[in-house]
Every structure is written in structure tokens, then in C-alpha cells.
Amino acid sequence: MLARDDLHDPNNLALSLLQEPAEALAVLAPAQEGNFVDWAAALRSGEISPRTNVYPETKIRVLDLDVLMTDTAAMPVVRFPHRPHTEWLDCSNCHDKIFVAKGGANPITMFKILQGDFCGQCHGAVSFPLTQCRRCHSVPRDQALRVEPQ
């Protein structure tokens, strides 16, 4: 309820014109936390079709490249998929502001992520929250080490 979310002013007469989140979100692919929506799945399945641009001349860049990040202690290895990210975001949102575009070139740790750096700039704020370990740590170690080059 917007009127009781501790954010919206219940005395605002226009409040009833705003949409209740539950009304829009409950019909989308469910997730356990955050908006309780699996936004990547909702986009993939066509449940939502958000616009990619407002200016006709803007170039839309999408990349299909997975990067494995293996420095994960005993946790499963992290698979970073470019495809779903570049569906939502432009390269310049990450490169080189947040990540250098070179495999293994970024000193990422879970501590820094929880501080809001690297993946934590979006995950934990707008994209699915950091409590969903397994969505990032998604590849079992033995399997990942088998497919890794070197």
C-alpha cells in the first residue's frame, strides 16, 4: 500500500492516482525477493517489452558473451552473462566506469560488492538483491574448471 509505505505522504490527495506496485508486479514472472519479479525472465518471455530508446538514432548494442569468475572460495563459480545485461543496459553503463572490459582484470570481492561496488552498484539497489547468492554463483566448481581454458 503506497499510503502506508513510510515514503508516500498519505495526505497527498493525488496519491490515489498512482498505481499500487502489487497490481502491476503480481502478474509478472515471480522471484523470491526485491520486487518479487524475475525481471530477466519477464523480458525474455515478452511479458514486458520496455522501450530500448526514445531517440530514433540511438544505437542499440547487445552482446552474447558469458564470463566465468572463479575466485569464489568454496562457493560455486560466478557466471556473468552479457546477454541479459545488455538487453537492459548499454556497454557504457559498465565499461569502463564499473568494470574494465577484460576477463579477470577487475579486483572484485564479495566484500566490495556488498559495499555497493562492482555488481553491487545495481544488485542490491534496483536489480535482484545480493541475498540471492545462487543466481550469480550458478556454476558448480568442478563443472566450471572443466570448461575453463588455461
Binding site: 505522504d9 520496455p50 530508446n53 526514445v54 569464489t72 545480493l130
Partner: protein
């Protein structure tokens, strides 16, 4: 594997309770706001209008992140954009869309200025980290 890596690996586990504590903070924080809601209040309170609430959930159904954070140039950090009504009227920031063409126009003050007076600017909605959301 290189030796430097194994040190990090051991440290990683040692800090696990700490990670969990940080996460727990996110849970006990008393917020019921929708995940990703941003309050903009650099100037509103001082100017005697309600703070602005920007709902990510509502906009991301209609627009991808790149529209605002790439095309329109919104910095991806709560509080990093110094927004003035005069900018909006010139078609910048929210005014890029809230112009009675892409979306309803600026005369609907109370739809944007909908926050409780005195709200601190920043990102709301629980699960928050110690990161940019604290600005």
C-alpha cells in the same frame, strides 16, 4: 592456482559471518517501500514542496535502464543528479518524457512530489547494502 588467490579464498570464508551480518541489516531495516524507489530531495524540502519519489519498478516495465542511464544521462547513483524544475521545463531529466508527449506533463506536481516532508534522499526498498544507496 597462484598462491595469492588461495589467501583471498581463505579470507573469503573467514569474513562470511560478516557478510551475513551486513545482509541481516538489510532485513531488519524498517522499510516497506517498493524495492528500487528513489527519493530526490536536494531542494524540495527547502523550497516548501514534498520530496520527489521516483519508482524504478514502474518505469522499468516501460523503459530499459539504458534509456535513462545512457540516452538521457541520469547518473546511476542516488543523489548524484542535481535536478531543478527549470531543467525539467527545458526537457531535461524527467522533463524528457513528462512533457505531455511521452508521458503526462509537469503540471501534475503531486504525482512526482508525493513524499513525506523531511524524507532523506536516497534509495529505499530494503535489501540495501552499505553502498551508493547510502548517499
Amino acid at each position: 592456482m597462484k598462491p595469492a588467490r588461495s589467501t583471498i579464498r581463505r579470507l573469503g570464508w573467514r569474513f562470511l559471518p560478516f557478510y551475513l551480518a551486513v545482509l541481516a541489516l538489510g532485513f531488519i531495516w524498517p522499510v516497506a517501500a517498493e524495492y528500487g524507489d528513489v527519493v530526490l530531495n536536494h531542494r524540495s524540502d527547502r523550497a516548501g514542496v514534498r520530496p520527489v519519489i521516483f519508482p524504478h519498478w514502474f518505469h522499468r516495465i516501460r523503459f530499459r535502464c539504458k534509456v535513462c542511464h545512457h540516452e538521457l544521462g541520469f547518473e546511476m547513483r542516488a543523489g548524484a543528479n542535481d535536478v531543478k524544475m527549470s531543467d525539467l521545463a527545458q526537457g531535461k531529466f524527467c522533463g524528457m518524457c513528462h512533457n505531455n508527449e511521452v508521458a503526462w506533463g509537469l503540471e501534475n506536481c503531486d504525482l512526482c512530489h508525493s513524499g513525506k516532508p523531511g524524507l532523506a534522499g536516497g534509495i529505499y526498498g530494503g535489501h540495501r547494502t552499505l553502498g551508493p544507496g547510502r548517499w
